[in-house]
Structure formats: C-alpha cells, structure tokens
Symmetry: C2
Subunit: 380 residues, 2 copies
C-alpha cells in the first residue's frame, strides 16, 4: 500500500472509467447567463432557448408559492399526485408515466437503461444535441440521417435503424430546431417498418403547440414508442424542470432501476400539477404564441426575409445564405442585446431560430433586426 503524506499528495486518487476518461468535459449548450457574462451585459430579449416568456398559469405560480411553506420536506419520490393527474389527462395507467427533471433528465435515464458501448442509435444530423450527449456519455454510437426539406426524415431514420441494428431512434414531433411537424398518422404508418428491437423516442416537447393532427394515434402503451413531454415549453415552467415519459408499463417501470428517486423538486411538482389542471390557460398560451409567430414572420417580411412554418413556440428565419451568415447574424443580434440560436447543420444553418415571446421582447427584436442586418452588410 502506497503511503501519502498527511498534507497534500500530488496525484489524484480518482480513477475514472475508461469510458468517462475518454469523454470531453463539454456542455451541450452554453446557457444565456454565460453568454451574458461573456459580453458583460444582460440581454434585452431572451429568445434563444425556446422558453415561454408568456409564463406559466397564474394558478401554477400560486401553487408554487404556496408549496414553499413545505420546502423543508423532500418531494414525493413517486410524484403520485402529478402522475395520477397525468394518467387522467392521458386516459392511461399511472404505470405508463414516469416523471423526471425535464426531458433531458429522462433521456439520460432512458439512454442509460438501453445503451452501452457498442450499441447504436439513429437520429437526424442537426437534431437535439443533448440526446447525443447522453448516448456518447454511455458509450453508444450515433448514426445520422440528413433532414429532408427542413423536416426530420422518419422513413430514412427507420431504414437506418434497420441497417445499423439501432436500439433507439430519436424523432422530435414537432421538430427542433426547424419547427416542422409530421401528422401523427404518418408516424403510425412509418412505425410499421420499425425494426424489432428498435424503440422510437418521440420527443414531443412542443406538441401542445402543434396542430391536432400532429398527435400520434396509437395507444400510450404501444411498446414501440416512448413519448417525452415537458412542462418547460407550452406550460412555461422551464426553470422548474419537470418532464414526463409515456410508454409501455414494463419500460416505464425500468426507470425505477436507475432514476434519482428523490430528485424532483417539491415546488416544481406542485407547479406542474396546477399547470396541468388549469385547462383554460393552454389555449390562451397557444393563441399568444400563434400571434407571436405571426409577429416574427411580419418582421422577416419587413426586412426582406422569410420564415419557415412553425408548429412550436419558435420560428426559423431564413437568411437565404449559409451558416457563416447566420452565425454572423446570431452574433450581431447578441450585440444588439437579442439572444437567439441557430441550427447546427447545412442547409438548415442558413436560418436563425427565434423563440416567441411577449410584446416587450418582440419590440426589442423588431428594433434589433434591421440594425443587426446592417452590421452584417457593413462587415461584408
């Protein structure tokens, strides 16, 4: 046994697994607060993280305020009340629902359950990077399929799953970052080609904001699909960190093997429950967001640009050029105090992605757009 001095040895005692040692210390996204610190100024408009500036239901806020009196207590590790309300909402069993710290947290647990070194997944090139982060983190191999007409190409994703023997295939409906959606009956039809042993992750983070025909017309417990939902987008509770997965009871129960049982914030559970029960608020928010999408489209027109159709709370503005111009535009908007993001992959990276928001944020964007475009022309 090697002896250390009692003061401070030079070497580290921590021996990472070979897998962990090989991972980069990377962050899937840099948060807007970090961008603000780098520029030494806050953003006047925060329109880059697809948050919902219209905010949550006042009843959710009131429920969270009231629950603070009990914040000395751990939250219910079973999320019993929220899961029961969700089971009523979805007309399914409580056993078909697991609650977690947002879709990110649920994706981590799902990937951990299914993916190890040598296992394959399929996703679209340019789709949600946090899923890829988890796959890499558990040693899986990522296979990608390009977007097709600014939409995820589900038949191609499913075909690639067969070619690679993928255990997971990721598909977001509506899609982020492009805002497009596929009618649910087309997803159901495509699933008839899903290989045995491939599970479809249907990321429905934005589904409450999509047309009714986007809904998947299959039973919640269809074992070929796990659906991911969140209170972060339409429900306006991104900072609370509440998501849930819907799926076959056997798969959902498997989360209990690995999840952080006491990881759910107590106030967040209360807020999500109240948000779900305030059924009048969601149509109101959908109206506000639809109007905001129109507002952003109008700004594009006023600046000689176009926008893509969106089934979400964000809009892709097409700058009609390439990734370099879009990156310059994101930077120019930041200099004007407006935080937006953009797709990662060509040709989608010709666009910038702008979150919807209330009028004060839209007014900031409206003022910043022509100024940012002028900056681009000056530097061109």
């Amino acid at each position: 046994m090697t002896k250390h001095s009692a003061t401070r040895p030079a070497g580290s005692a921590a021996r990472l697994t070979p897998l962990a040692a090989g991972l980069p210390s990377s962050v899937p996204f840099t948060g807007p607060e970090e961008l603000e610190r780098r520029r030494n100024a806050p953003f006047a408009a925060r329109l880059g993280a697809n948050e919902n500036g219209f905010g949550p239901s006042p009843r959710a806020l009131e429920a969270m305020r009231a629950s603070l009196d009990g914040i000395w207590q751990y939250g219910d590790p079973a999320s019993h009340d929220l899961r029961n309300a969700l089971a009523r909402h979805w007309s399914c069993e409580v056993d078909n629902i697991v609650v977690g710290t947002g879709i990110d947290g649920l994706l981590a647990d799902l990937v951990r359950l299914i993916i190890g070194p040598g296992d394959n997944i399929v996703t679209s090139a340019g789709a949600y990077p946090t899923f890829n982060y988890h796959v890499t983190g558990f040693g899986g191999t990522i296979h990608t399929v390009p977007y097709r007409d600014d939409s995820e190409d589900l038949p191609a994703l499913i075909a690639k799953s067969g070619e690679t023997g993928a255990k997971l295939v990721y598909f977001a409906n509506p899609d982020n970052p492009m805002g497009s959606y596929l009618p649910g009956d087309r997803i159901a039809a495509a699933l008839s080609d899903l290989p045995e042993g491939t599970l479809l992750i249907l990321d429905e983070a934005y589904a409450e904001l999509a047309p009714a025909e986007a809904a998947l017309p299959l039973p919640i417990d269809d074992p070929r699909v796990i659906r991911m939902r969140t209170f972060s987008k339409a429900y306006g509770l991104a900072g609370a960190r509440v998501g849930y997965a819907l799926g076959a009871a056997g798969l959902i129960r498997a989360f209990d093997k690995v999840r952080n049982h006491f990881g759910m914030n107590r106030t967040a559970q209360a807020g999500a429950l109240a948000a779900l029960e305030d059924t009048a608020w969601l149509p109101h928010i959908c109206d506000e967001i639809a109007a905001s999408r129109q507002r952003i489209a109008g700004m594009a027109t006023a600046n000689g640009l176009t926008t893509l159709p969106s089934a979400t709370n964000f809009v892709c503005m097409d700058l009609g050029a390439d990734g370099a111009r879009a990156r310059a535009m994101v930077a120019a908007l930041a200099e004007e105090g407006v935080f937006v993001r953009m797709p990662f992959v060509a040709p989608q990276d010709r666009c910038i992605r702008i979150s919807c928001g209330p009028e004060d944020q839209m007014a900031q964007l409206e003022a910043a757009l022509p100024r940012a475009l002028a900056r681009l022309d000056l530097s061109a």
Copy 2:
C-alpha cells in the same frame, strides 16, 4: 426486417443493457407520502427523513418567492452565482465546486464517472443505501465493514479499500443513521493510509450541525477526498434539491462530462444562494436543533430508554433489544401518527432514528412514545 402491424405489437421494442436488465426495480427508500397513502392517513409528525422542520431562512423563502417570476426561464446551467458564493464561503476556487440535485444526484454522477462492472467500493454495513443503489446501478461491487461502537470504522474502511483495490470508499461525517462523528484530524490522519487510487467520499450532509472539531483540516482540493454537502439538512431546503461537491479541480470538472447540465431548478438555486448568505440563520437553527435533541433525550429518559449522542438533526433512541423490537416500534409509532425510521443492520437496528423538529412535532412524539411502547407490550 421484421414488420409490425400498425396497431399494437405484443413484444417490447426496448432492449435493456444486460446491466440494466439485471437490476431490480427498487426504491432506495419508500417516501413518507407513500407510507401515508398505504395507511390512508397523514402523519401527525414527520420525523423519519431527517428533514429540518424548523425550515429555511426567511431570506431563502423570500428569494424563492421572488424567483418564481422568472420560472419560465431555465436555471443557469453553470450555477454561477451559487458556486461563486460557495467559493467565497470555502475560500476555494469556483473550479473546486460542482452543484447538483442534492447529494443523491452528485453521488450518481460520481459513481458513473468512476465505477463500472468489476470495480469495487467499500462502505459500512448499514450506511447510506442510496450510494449502494448507484454503485449497483453502474455494475460495481460493494464491500462492507461493520460499524464499531455505533460509529463508522474509518481505519477498517481504508484497510478494506486496500484489500479490495476499491476505487471509492464512502464515509459519512457525521454518520447517518447513528449520528456519531469523528474529529477531522483523525480523518486526516487516517487518510495517510488511503491506498493510491482510492478516492474517499466524505458525505458531510449533516456537517453544519456538528461540533467544529468535526471539520476536515485539509485543503479543499486535496485529491484524495471529495466532500459532499447539501442544503437539505441544516439549511432546511430538502424539497429544493440542491447539493454540492468540493474537490480537486480535475475531478470536479469531470462532472461536466456526464451531468444533466440544465437539471437545476431555477428557484432552488436562488433559495440556496440566499440561505448561504443568511449567515445569522444557521447558528439559530443549530441552537433549535440542539434543544430538540435534548427534548428527545428527555422523552427517552421519561420512558425508561436512552439516546445516543448526536452531531446531527436526528437522534437514535436505543430500545435496548433487537431489530424486531425496533421494527415493531417504528410500526407502532406510525399507528400513532409519527413517522420515524431505523438503522438496517444489527446491532444498530436496536435503535429507532428520530429527526429533530419544532415543538408541535415534538409534542406529538412525546404523546405517541408511551402509547407506542404500550402497544409493543400488549403484543409481546
């Protein structure tokens, strides 16, 4: 490629990893809410989870209330403000601190970084089961050392680490469930025998409540140790889910490889920051808890029982018999409306473990104790 019908196939598409398939769908602890649902009645006194019924600083409550206005925004994934305040508090660098969803969440990430199939850890038989849950969950092998005189036996833990080539050794100071503590200089001395390549997890969940001599007199960045701290106990914010780890910068940075970067609740970060900054509140809470420990000791005496010394916000009451009697007492107290827990392993399981709390909870306990003991004598 096997074709499925478009309706509902019989088999599940999810293929768990061999490791995940072999894990039980178990819960490290059953929450008090679940126990209440099973008994169809709420507890009159919630004294089993070592929560802090005296509650958090009023400034923390006010900060959380105020932060709800921004709950539509994700929390800062870098926890910049909280980590900077902690760095000032500990006179260390921000790079020595990682914030997570309680010690449970941080233990999960740490185990994931270090433990894979075939790797060994050492802990005390009867120590914190959630650590073991994570180790099993990542395929590690658990080696145990018995308690000695109702304390964790650090020299034996370290010796066993050498014998097994353990990558992690777990030690709580003060200890849960027994409430004992080891002076920090004895920990520092014992570390001189720590094998090269073994990392000590020093779980200091209750450290704010312990005598000053419990503090470890070693630099925060000593690479042999990672310290785990929480806002759940002395700070009274269990439901917020905020913990942090202190250690060498290289190890702390490694958390960024695997952690759920956007997993921290925004309100919780604000509450923890305000709690930390209200430096007058913690001594007040320590006084309240010390008085409550005395109150519980007095109840034991009044019922012909004894208590063990405690450096925490809970007290072990010695029933002077065996695990069967303590289990019966836990059940009898539950029937009287008082939720407590007990150690898992003999001979510590002769005790029940009672959390400190405010006078209304203590009065419930005081009334319930003799009635519960009478139930035991009736059924004996």
